[in-house]
């Protein structure tokens, strides 16, 4: 039975609302309330009575704190670009299926199932100063000194890449392999070489999926916390904004200040998302020479 969207509510709608109620309640209690409470808390600092933006002002006037924004961007932006680019490379070349596809996909996806902590421990062990990677390099005489790949910026990048690549790759693979192969086949018969097919036909068609991939990976990278602590220098070069919030909450026990930092972090993530969606729109427009349906 189909009704117009402007129709009067019927029993069916009430039933639908009733069925949705438990999940709505869950979202309200578990997400909306804490979220709003966090915002409320952030504008009610410990040392002030009533409404005040003191926490926000404190964050942006304290170099130790506002530097975390820059650090987080310096991690998240390159990481997002690298993850999406490499995922796109793999997914695009695997779009028609390849030899041993299932095995290769399993290997690529395995890190998802391991969890961040185990993954980070593994990276510490393997890439650490005394890890196999460095022992191999030193053993082969390729380098005199071990490569410092952990407890610094590189370590966090490595860890983020390994966590996020499988997600991003799987998502793009699903998106790209859903595009009708006869579209690129027809482009080939019309005289387009594989690169032109990618640039003129496939890239514009993949763009919406690519934008989602950029958005998700960026948000995940921006919120990085365990990797930055375990594989980075949590008090120095990889002190991300999430660490700053954590420190305020559980080391300084200043919940309102921590909430303010969390809100600031959320706003930057939102700004990043908007920028990505804006770029996507421009990209599609440029490729289609005019905006229309689809």
């Amino acid at each position: 039975m189909r009704r117009s969207r402007t129709g009067e509510p019927s029993e069916l709608d009430l039933l639908a609302i009733a069925c949705l109620a438990p999940s709505l309640l869950y979202i309200l209690v578990m997400f909306v309330y804490p979220f709003l409470y966090g915002i409320y808390l952030s504008v009610h600092p410990l040392k002030v009575d009533g409404f005040s933006l003191a926490n926000y002002i404190a964050f942006f006037t304290d170099q130790y704190q506002y530097k975390t924004v820059g650090i987080t961007f310096r991690l998240a932006v390159p990481n997002t670009i690298v993850v999406v680019a490499i995922s796109l490379l793999f997914a695009y070349n695997m779009r028609r299926g390849i030899w041993l596809e299932r095995t290769i996909t399993t290997i690529l996806v395995l890190p998802i199932s391991l969890g961040v902590i185990l993954l980070s421990q593994g990276i510490l062990g393997f890439y650490g100063g005394k890890g196999w990677f460095n022992q191999l390099i030193l053993g082969l005489g390729l380098l005199e000194e071990p490569l410092i790949l952990t407890h610094n910026f590189t370590g966090v990048m490595l860890s983020l890449f390994m966590q996020q690549f499988p997600f991003c790759f799987l998502m793009l693979l699903g998106y790209i392999s859903g595009i009708d192969p006869s579209i690129e086949n027809s482009a080939r018969t019309l005289g387009a070489n594989p690169w032109t097919v990618f640039r003129r036909i496939m890239l514009p068609l993949i763009a919406p999926g690519l934008a989602i991939a950029f958005a998700l990976v960026f948000v995940m990278s921006f919120a990085t916390f365990p990797s930055a602590i375990m594989l980075g220098q949590p008090s120095g070069s990889t002190r991300t904004i999430a660490i700053a919030a954590y420190a305020q909450a559980f080391e300084m026990f200043d919940m309102p200040y921590a909430s303010a930092i969390a809100v600031i972090m959320g706003l930057f993530q939102l700004a990043g998302l908007l920028l990505i969606l804006l770029m996507r729109k421009r990209m599609v427009t440029a490729a289609t020479m005019g905006v229309g349906k689809r």
Binding site: T189, T288, G292
Partner: protein
């Protein structure tokens, strides 16, 4: 505006084998045809006809074999270097481009001047009767319009060989007949060489100069539509061409012009064959439902007494199933109005009865 004609090929020759893993999709599928013809690959789904077309286009590699055009071997060329046009079943228009950009795509890749591109796109739109649609997107067009744009997009480059992969299968019956005529018109007026893949024998017969019937990766029969229609080589092709009645018999005698007299299952039957049968050979007599005559002289050759079982109304004619007194069932299409239970005489005109080898499959045995 004068309709342009295209430079086309003089000859196409290929022999291809294709295996996917252990499965052989095409086994030594070979053909040699002259240019300016309309060639159809006809067969049921899974017979390898589309695979063959894709190999000719260069979109999938053959496991073994060669493709030659005008004495030049082209199977090593990538599809973009072959200068063929291809039309797909699901249109395959670029959804993010306007109609104009779709048709102009190939010309832009050739770096033609803007003015020439605009003129040729207009010419094509006129040719496929979609002038004024250049600003639309594929999603805003009907299936028939999309397919016309897809055809225009291929034709604007004047392909030396036009490949059409079941282009009408997604259209409704009425549109299919219209588009069929349009494809034939474009083929003739532009002087193209076309290869057309279909599972629809009516499309194959009405469009083609040369029909290639395929089954399970083998070429079963190749010939003019008349040959395929009137003289199928075996039961498979006969069945595909609308023969519905098959009677196993033995050859009694073979006369001049391959007139055959055969007997079996209590019936004596005369007809023609293209095979060199010897007396005593097991053969199958075949006739189309609409070639059977109802009424007539019960003493004439190939006349049988029969009883009407089922009558289905088809408009001008009825489809009737009768049981012959010899016990065999016979499908008949006739304008004579019959009623179930009625006794009739049916005549199988000897020039309409053909004799085929008992196994219809495999083609080359």
């Amino acid at each position: 505006m004068k309709e342009p004609t295209c430079e086309t090929i003089d000859s196409l020759r290929f022999r291809i084998t294709k295996r996917f893993g252990a499965k052989t999709v095409l086994q030594d599928f070979a053909l040699e045809v002259r240019g300016k013809q309309f060639i159809t690959f006809l067969g049921p789904s899974g017979c390898g006809k589309s695979t063959a077309l894709n190999i000719i286009a260069g979109l999938i590699p053959a496991t073994a074999g060669e493709v030659w055009i005008d004495g030049e071997r082209i199977d090593h060329l990538p599809p973009e270097k072959r200068e063929f046009g291809m039309v797909f079943q699901n249109y395959a228009l670029f959804p993010h481009m306007t109609v104009f950009a779709n048709i102009a795509f190939g010309l832009q890749l050739q770096r033609r001047p803007e003015a020439e591109i605009a003129e040729r796109v207009q010419q094509m739109l006129e040719l496929v009767q979609l002038l004024g649609y250049e600003g639309r997107y594929p999603g805003q067009l009907s299936g028939g319009q999309q397919q016309r744009i897809a055809i225009a997009r291929a034709l604007v480059l004047c392909p030396r060989l036009m490949l059409l992969d079941e282009p009408l299968s997604n259209l409704d019956a009425k549109l299919r007949i219209e588009m069929r005529a349009e494809i034939k018109r474009l083929h003739t007026s532009l002087g193209l060489t076309s290869i057309y893949v279909t599972h629809d024998q009516v499309e194959a017969l009405s469009l083609s100069d040369w029909v290639v019937v395929m089954r399970e990766g083998l070429l079963i029969q190749a010939g003019t539509p008349q040959e395929i229609h009137d003289q199928p080589v075996n039961i498979f092709v006969a069945d595909f061409m609308g023969f519905r009645n098959f009677f196993p018999t033995q050859v009694v005698s073979v006369g001049p012009d391959r007139d055959v007299e055969a007997a079996g299952n209590g019936m004596k039957i005369r007809g023609k064959t293209r095979h060199p049968f010897a007396p005593g050979a097991s053969v199958v007599a075949a006739i189309r439902p609409n070639d059977v005559m109802v009424g007539g002289d019960a003493a004439s050759p190939n006349a049988f007494r029969a009883k009407v079982d089922i009558v289905e109304y088809l408009g001008r004619e009825d489809e009737v199933i009768v049981t012959m007194e010899t016990g065999g069932r016979l499908w008949v299409q006739t304008a004579v109005r019959l009623a179930p239970g009625e006794n009739v005489t049916v005549v199988l005109p000897p020039d309409r009865v053909i004799f085929l080898p008992p196994e219809g499959y495999g083609g080359k045995e």
